[in-house]
């Protein structure tokens, strides 16, 4: 059990003794998303990534809420729980906190995670429950056929906002950093290599890893992330955020601004040495937060990658420690001791 207490990364999860392939993670259920939906790409990326972890399949659980994205668990041949709208982080918290031997994933959408489920999400983050949360952000409510979501841009015309939406959207990265998250990243459905590289770090992180995945809903919000996919410009607007690397795109770079903040400048205009080098391991999330603001206004330049990745004890481990400690101090629980604990007296 002390092994548990010191558990890091995947050390507490049983390894498979057979070699696994993508097909081992495909369930027998027919995939039912609209043709062209970005969810297909993410599913394929996850199914082909999982074998790399080499975990016992039966020790992997996918928990989801409600939404198109939340159908995800049905398509994986692992344990799965398609729960109710917004509650996946809460349900997964109970599972992960009581089962340190499981790899627990939460699949959620921008509405599921940030609208009805916002509170559970931020609390899971601050507690650092051992979860891999994949937030499929298509900036729309897909399943209910196209209302604006908490990540939709202001002025969005949708079924419920014929004159345009009024609410300033959340920036999921900023919100997570404000909620004490220990691992925060962003990737995109169309870039499998990057998506999987992020999953690699996320799964190695014991605690809550939040991965925002830009996902295209070609039916109700098509091309929401077109610029990031357009070969013409994507390399110019995608600011790669990688630990230890200068933060830059093909043509742009992030530097300190005169007023002490950070800003995006023409890469050619600065010396390599002046480009801000990313440190995802900083205890202080302030710089990561500043980076998360760089995609305002949308898509002139978008930081993609792992914003923050710090070591903090995971919730399940802390809980286990207290149980250990209690047993060590008082010995394992004995029902008779318990009942006889108070002031007792005998009659007859």
């Amino acid at each position: 059990m002390t092994e548990l207490v010191n558990g890091k990364g995947l050390s507490l999860i049983p390894k498979s003794d057979v070699k696994q392939g993508m097909k081992d993670f495909k369930s027998d259920q027919e995939v039912r998303w609209c043709p062209g939906c970005g969810d297909y790409a993410i599913l394929a990326a996850v199914q082909s990534f999982l074998p790399e972890l080499g975990l016992k399949r039966e020790n992997i659980v996918f928990v989801s809420g409600i939404g198109c994205s939340s159908r995800f668990p049905y398509y994986l041949n692992t344990y799965g729980f398609h729960s109710i709208h917004g509650r996946a982080p809460a349900i997964a918290t109970g599972l992960a906190a009581s089962r340190p031997d499981l790899s627990v994933w939460v699949i959620t959408g921008d509405g599921d995670a940030l609208s009805i489920g916002g509170n559970h999400l931020i609390h899971a983050l601050r507690r650092n429950v051992n979860l891999n949360i994949l937030l499929f952000n298509n900036r729309i409510y897909g399943l209910t056929k196209g209302q604006y979501s908490p990540t939709s841009e202001i002025g969005k015309i949708t079924k419920s906002t014929p004159m345009g939406s009024l609410d300033k959207p959340f920036n999921p990265i900023s919100l997570a950093l404000g909620a004490e998250a220990s691992f925060v990243a962003r990737t995109i459905d169309s870039d499998r290599k990057h998506l999987q590289s992020v999953l690699r770090e996320a799964t190695a992180h014991r605690g809550t890893s939040l991965v925002e995945i830009y996902q295209n809903c070609n039916i109700f919000n098509d091309n929401a992330f077109e610029q990031l996919k357009d070969p013409e410009i994507r390399d110019d607007i995608t600011l790669r955020v990688e630990h230890g690397q200068p933060i830059q795109s093909a043509s742009k770079a992030v530097v300190r601004s005169a007023d002490g903040g950070i800003e995006v400048v023409d890469r050619a205009s600065v010396a390599e040495a002046d480009i801000l080098v990313h440190d995802a391991h900083r205890a202080d999330p302030s710089l990561a937060f500043a980076l998360s603001r760089l995609d305002e206004p949308a898509f002139e330049h978008v930081p993609i990658g792992i914003f923050r990745q710090i070591d903090r004890p995971a919730y399940d481990v802390l809980m286990a420690e207290q149980m250990e400690e209690a047993k060590a101090q008082q010995g394992p629980g004995e029902l008779s001791d318990l009942l006889l604990g108070g002031d007792t007296w005998r009659i007859g």
Binding site: P73, I84, R87, A90, Q329, G331, G333, L338, G348
Partner: protein, 614 residues
């Protein structure tokens, strides 16, 4: 001078004072002594409204009532024989409950002009004739205490704090309570502050001696021990018994207990209690809200834990959607509702039975679940085990309906033999269950209709569950109309088929024409009332429902076998509605929704009226 000693068969004492006066502690200690002495007893704490009011005001009054006797008793008693009033507010707030001729022990030091005005007394009731019809003992408790503690180097303020121990000592003398336990208790409690310990003990003894030596008390009273069944006893409150019952259920089911809870009056103490027992492998999780609390418990249950969530009415309302998910995914879950006065926030510290129909129907769709209700503080222990037994055997959420009166009330509890506790363990499913060697998560046990419980970590049984309608057997998503109709009925049939014991009727000579039925915390007052009727030669039968859903198989038959069925409830007739609908019996309801338990006398009157047929 030797004093007269009078024998009594039962006494009801109420300690009343300011929130800060430590009345609950005083009551607890007197209860402990009384228990140790061997009387049967029943207690009723009465906390002030949610927020602590300024000292000396009516809303700030806190009281503790104790009923003890030389025979077994069923309630904390209707009306006190003795009121200890630590200040004018305490006197005013409680005088209404005091029968003429009862004793009042008043702390004269607190009857200052200012304190009297605070509660709207123009004159001093201890001096004018306000209390003419009662036996008043005016005692300067505070100053006597301070004087008694002069030797100690304590601030006046600290010394005054011990006045409740002085009162306890006085009452202990008055009723011949043993003193050792209290003394050792104080030594332990203030182990770190020996001076405070000594001071409190000194105050306690001073109170005793005051009774012994002064004129003001000419008589002391003796209440002989009660003849209770032999065994080891302890005094226990409903919340504590319920927490212990859950721990026992965890041990007896061999399942790790996971509590997901959000604090709420009057349920919080269950969370507090369970959080102390981590050595039993218990995990207590204080969630961000009620929905997360039940969600986490359900997630843990999916992982193989004994999932529990504890709350009160407003929390049950919030949990409804998730409980519905538990119903349709058919996972074991215990939902504890310590009912309080509603609707909405209502009166959080007051008791009520108004959540029964919410427990039955408060979810969208046809969403049946079993409901169990304890009938006394100590019965919360057994009820919790019974709820767990049903939950794990049938893979279903079970609603356990306690209430504020059971939660905070206490009574002596004869400890069960651990060896005699039921084995409620069930095995997780570890093997495929279909002919073709595959696993069907919704293939049911033919007898219980329970589905398999296969937990993550079990190789070969990987499966997915969820809130969308499931195909019978495979559990795959299904929108087939006939499958849905079948699943709706099978979920209902599973709950209807839960094995619950027959309803027992207490009808000594079988000649009663009237049956008094009850459920939950009304057992004590009803039984006490029935006794009174029988003592006075009347004939009445009594039955008490522990399982509200499903109902015992013989319920209808019993209801129909009496001319009249009387059903007192602390609501507007919720169980009555269920029974009328089910059995078309014209139940006579008696309803009072005052946030307080019924009084035995009150119910005796009602029963008599029904017998007399008006």
């Amino acid at each position: 001078m030797t004093k007269q000693v009078q024998q009594l068969d039962r006494v009801i004492i109420r300690f009343a004072g300011d929130s800060g006066d430590g009345m609950q502690l005083t009551g607890d200690r007197f209860t402990a002594g009384t228990a140790e002495f061997g009387n049967d007893l029943s207690t009723l704490p009465n906390f002030p409204a949610e927020i602590r009011a300024p000292a000396g005001t009516l809303p700030g009054v806190s009281s503790f009532q104790l009923h003890f006797a030389d025979h077994d008793i069923l309630t904390p008693g209707d009306a006190p024989n003795v009121l200890v009033a630590m200040n004018p507010a305490a006197l005013k707030a409680n005088l209404g409950d005091l029968p003429r001729g009862a004793d009042i022990i008043a702390n004269t030091d607190e009857f200052t002009k200012r304190n009297l005005q605070k509660v709207g007394y123009d004159g001093n009731p201890l001096e004018d004739d306000t209390l003419g019809e009662w036996r008043v003992h005016a005692v300067p408790l505070t100053s006597l205490t301070v004087r008694a503690l002069e030797g100690f180097d304590l601030s006046k303020k600290d010394a005054e704090r011990s006045k409740n121990m002085f009162a306890l000592g006085l009452l202990s003398w008055l009723y011949h309570r043993p003193t050792e336990a209290t003394i050792s208790f104080l030594e332990q409690k203030f182990a770190k502050k020996p001076d405070i310990a000594k001071a409190n003990i000194a105050a306690f003894q001073a109170g005793w001696n005051y009774g012994e030596t002064t004129e003001s008390f000419s008589v002391s009273y003796e209440v002989k021990p009660a003849k209770l069944p032999p065994g080891v006893y302890r005094n226990i409150s409903g919340n504590q018994a319920l927490a212990y019952g859950l721990i026992a259920a965890s041990v007896q089911s061999k399942l790790p207990l996971f509590l997901g809870s959000y604090p709420i009056t009057p349920a919080s103490d269950i969370l507090h209690e369970l959080s102390k027992h981590k050595r039993f492998g218990i995990r207590t999780f204080q969630a961000e809200d009620e929905i997360a609390g039940v969600g986490a418990a359900l997630g843990a249950a999916f992982g193989g834990a004994l999932g529990v969530t504890t709350t009160s009415g407003p929390g049950v309302a919030l949990k409804a959607e998730t409980v519905g998910l538990a119903v349709t995914t058919e996972l074991p879950l215990i939902v504890v509702d310590v009912q309080r006065a509603g609707p909405s926030t209502g009166m959080p510290t007051k008791t009520e039975q108004t959540d029964l129909l919410m427990a039955m129907f408060g979810r969208n769709g046809e969403s049946p679940l079993p409901i169990v209700a304890p009938m006394s503080p100590s019965d919360c222990f057994d009820a919790a085990i019974e709820a767990a037994r049903i939950a794990v055997k049938y893979r279903t959420p079970v609603m356990l309906l306690s209430d504020g009166y059971l939660a905070n009330g206490s009574e002596p509890w004869k400890l069960p033999e651990i060896s005699e506790l039921p084995d409620i363990s069930v095995a997780y499913t570890t093997e495929p269950n279909a002919e073709d060697g595959t696993f069907l998560p919704f293939k049911r046990d033919t007898e219980t209709l329970a589905r398999p419980w296969a937990i993550p970590g079990t190789a070969g049984l990987e499966h997915r569950i969820g809130g969308i309608e499931k195909a019978d057997g495979t559990g795959n998503i299904s929108y087939d109309p006939n499958n849905h109709d079948r699943m709706v009925r099978v979920r209902q049939a599973k709950i209807d088929g839960v094995d619950v014991p027959d309803l027992q009727v207490d009808d000594p000579d079988g000649e009663a024409k009237v049956l008094v039925l009850g459920w939950g915390s009304t057992y004590g007052p009803i039984a006490a009332a029935v006794r009174r009727i029988r003592k006075s030669g009347g004939k009445v039968a009594q039955a008490h429902l522990r399982h509200l859903n499903p109902l015992p198989a013989n319920t209808g038959e019993i209801l129909k076998s009496y001319d009249k069925v009387l059903l007192p409830e602390i609501n507007l007739g919720q169980l009555a509605l269920l029974l009328r609908a089910r059995f078309l019996v014209d139940i006579i309801s008696y309803n009072r929704v005052r946030g307080l338990p019924f009084k035995a006398e009150e119910l005796a009157g009602v029963i008599q009226d029904v017998i007399d047929g008006d």
